[in-house]
Symmetry: C2
Subunit: 402 residues, 2 copies
């Protein structure tokens, strides 16, 4: 007898992950596709000691089921860390998640029915599209940098607006202060939830960080003894600040949203690893993330500069791009519309370099004009060689298209 | 402006978790409601050393994003551990999950559309109902121990059949060998997937374990070089064998099912903690779970016996039950239909004891005749005192009902 059919949404998924996985087997490949940190930034000895200490001295935190919403002490740590002048965050404003990715999954679960409307910064983070695909939502793309972008019109009727204001994945663009204010004001006017997904919030290479939209909405928590109750749903993650393998992230939002997310998390994975949570709490308390940040910034700044210099040398005829002021990616748009970046991927793999084509950041898979290039994982020599290979691949691709 | 409405399924959730959480604040409460292991069974020094070693000596396993499907070496370990005479499991048959709970969530994602049909052992594990609630499935209850139970009729048209053959949560009942064969045969005849959820598979107190349905379906992997391709989806977890706080579970199934689950996991939490996975692999390799099992069995066997003895003394007039041959729970059914166990819960809390009412194990919340009592968390003295309090609560409840 045939097996029952899989759920409908599974037929909508793209196969880019499979292509990337297979690419991992190519010897000598330079991987500029992912969003991976450099392992040399991990404070291995410190984390090893923190892990041993967490289990030996806090076994109930580390080894028991944690509360669904997270260890109370870690929630307090996050609330204190993200409070700002006028912004009084309470434990009830915080939930711990299994990486930043899980927050996107849980938000989909609590806010989307089949066919719900999402206003999403365009192009949009692939992981968010993956997380929400099971609900088959309708997307209203938001081109935040377009002259005529109207946040209120964009938010109207949407279950939530999704943004990555700091060095968006994939474009690396920074949303300015005025526009943060405008997005927030539109959320307050329309009532729509405003997701501020912020994995790259510490990775500013050229200037001091802009205020978070969460902080800008401090007027929604005017009293110290009242939890924040504004429209911003702030998502943070340890993956870029310390190490992704611990799978720790956090949501900061109004208590009613936290309660709904807790109900969804109960049926998703019950709780996040207590061991990872305890390590995170102790790492923050020891100032570990703050201690390693300057080194991370210096390393990634130099790599961004190396990548952009190599691109100027080898890719200026083929692509246009902006130098990102932070984050992990350069977004490059083909000058010639005949250069289909879906077709570029296999050519690039054949040349021994992997990048991410723009189609995967489009809910409808139609944008084939651009690529996302990561600069955090490889050293300057590899980045330069990767760009050389990419230039060869693009030229070969154009010849075939002609 | 009002906020957008939450997704429809959220209005269907029960509030039992909130009641239990609030109960945690009652001083002196004896908690016999959960399914928690006794922390004294955790090998703290061993786990602390394994955690430190995982980070120091295997930092890429422990601190990087793990592959979505899990660390290859851990998948191989699980495949070897669950292979059996005639059953050849390959790496492609195995996916690592963030606790057993996540496997249920992912199965719902890949197999359920809104209103899909599930054939579920009745009463059913609360966590499974929680996991599948966002898809609002239709349940066909399976009373496996009823004389006239017909597996083929039950499986017909269902996306999957859900069973906990070893000491079911909540009833503690064991599904016998004949019935395992019958369930498997019905799955093969109808084509339906057969979920074998097995968190309690090592907790046999009175006899040697029965063969898993996965092993009984070995004819679906007749050749050593071909992965298992049968209808059984086997779910395992480290939570009862070692410690729940690591949040590690595993799915063993046909490769096509593993591939679908990997797509769902990619959009759920990207990967399970590498640190937890590496600790798990090294714990299995060191024989840690096998070493601590005899102590766990002796401890829990004595507690089961103490609970059942106290129940015979104090509850025989009020409830009927079977002595479970394993697992973590006794299921007790009220003799008097006037004893509504939803009403019993607040009475029990007032007396200083917490149990789980049967309604939460019924997709429709209608079964109010039974309670689930846990015996693994408390020592015999506390179990006995808990039963005394429960008897007082039940009597008070009956007086109010009269």
């Amino acid at each position: 007898m045939p097996r029952p059919a899989f759920a409908n949404w599974l037929s909508d998924t793209n196969d880019v992950t499979q292509i990337f996985l297979a690419a991992g087997q190519i010897p000598g490949l330079i991987n500029m596709a992912g969003g991976l940190p450099d392992p040399s930034t991990w404070p291995i000895a410190d984390l090893s000691a923190l892990a041993a200490n967490a289990i030996s001295n806090h076994p109930k935190d580390a080894l028991a089921y944690a509360p669904i919403e997270g260890l109370p002490s870690l929630r307090d740590t996050i609330a204190a860390r993200f409070s700002a002048p006028g912004l009084h965050l309470h434990r009830d404003n915080v939930m711990i998640t299994s990486g930043g990715m899980q927050a996107l999954d849980l938000l989909g679960k609590v806010l989307l029915d089949d066919g719900s409307l999402i206003a999403a910064q365009s192009p949009a983070y692939l992981g968010a599209l993956d997380a929400w695909r099971p609900r088959r939502p309708i997307y209203r793309p938001m081109h935040l940098h377009a002259n005529d972008f109207d946040p209120e019109a964009a938010f109207q009727g949407a279950q939530f607006a999704y943004t990555v204001p700091n060095f968006s994945n994939p474009t690396g663009r920074l949303v300015g202060l005025d526009q943060r204010q405008a997005l927030l004001s539109a959320a307050q006017t329309t009532g729509t939830w405003l997701i501020e997904d912020d994995p790259y919030g510490t990775l500013y290479y050229d200037s001091a960080p802009l205020p978070r939209m969460l902080s800008l909405s401090a007027s929604n928590s005017p009293h110290e003894d009242t939890p924040y109750d504004g429209p911003v749903i702030y998502l943070g993650t340890l993956s870029k600040e310390l190490a992704p393998g611990l799978r720790v992230g956090w949501v900061i939002a109004a208590p009613q949203m936290i309660r709904a997310l807790v109900t969804a998390k109960q049926g998703s994975d019950m709780s996040t690893s207590g061991l990872s949570q305890r390590i995170t709490q102790d790492a923050f308390a020891a100032g570990l993330t703050d201690r390693i940040l300057p080194e991370i910034l210096a390393l990634y700044r130099a790599r961004r500069d190396a990548l952009c210099a190599a691109m100027t040398t080898h890719l200026a005829d083929l692509f246009t791009w902006e130098i990102p002021a932070g984050g992990m990616f350069v977004w490059a748009t083909a000058r010639d519309p005949a250069l289909n970046t879906d077709a570029l991927l296999p050519e690039a793999l054949a040349q021994g370099v992997c990048i991410t084509p723009s189609s995967v950041f489009d809910p409808h898979g139609l944008n084939r004009r651009a690529i996302r290039i990561n600069f955090t994982l490889n050293d300057p020599e590899k980045l330069t060689e990767g760009v050389r290979r990419l230039a060869r691949a693009a030229k070969s691709c154009l010849i075939k298209a002609a």
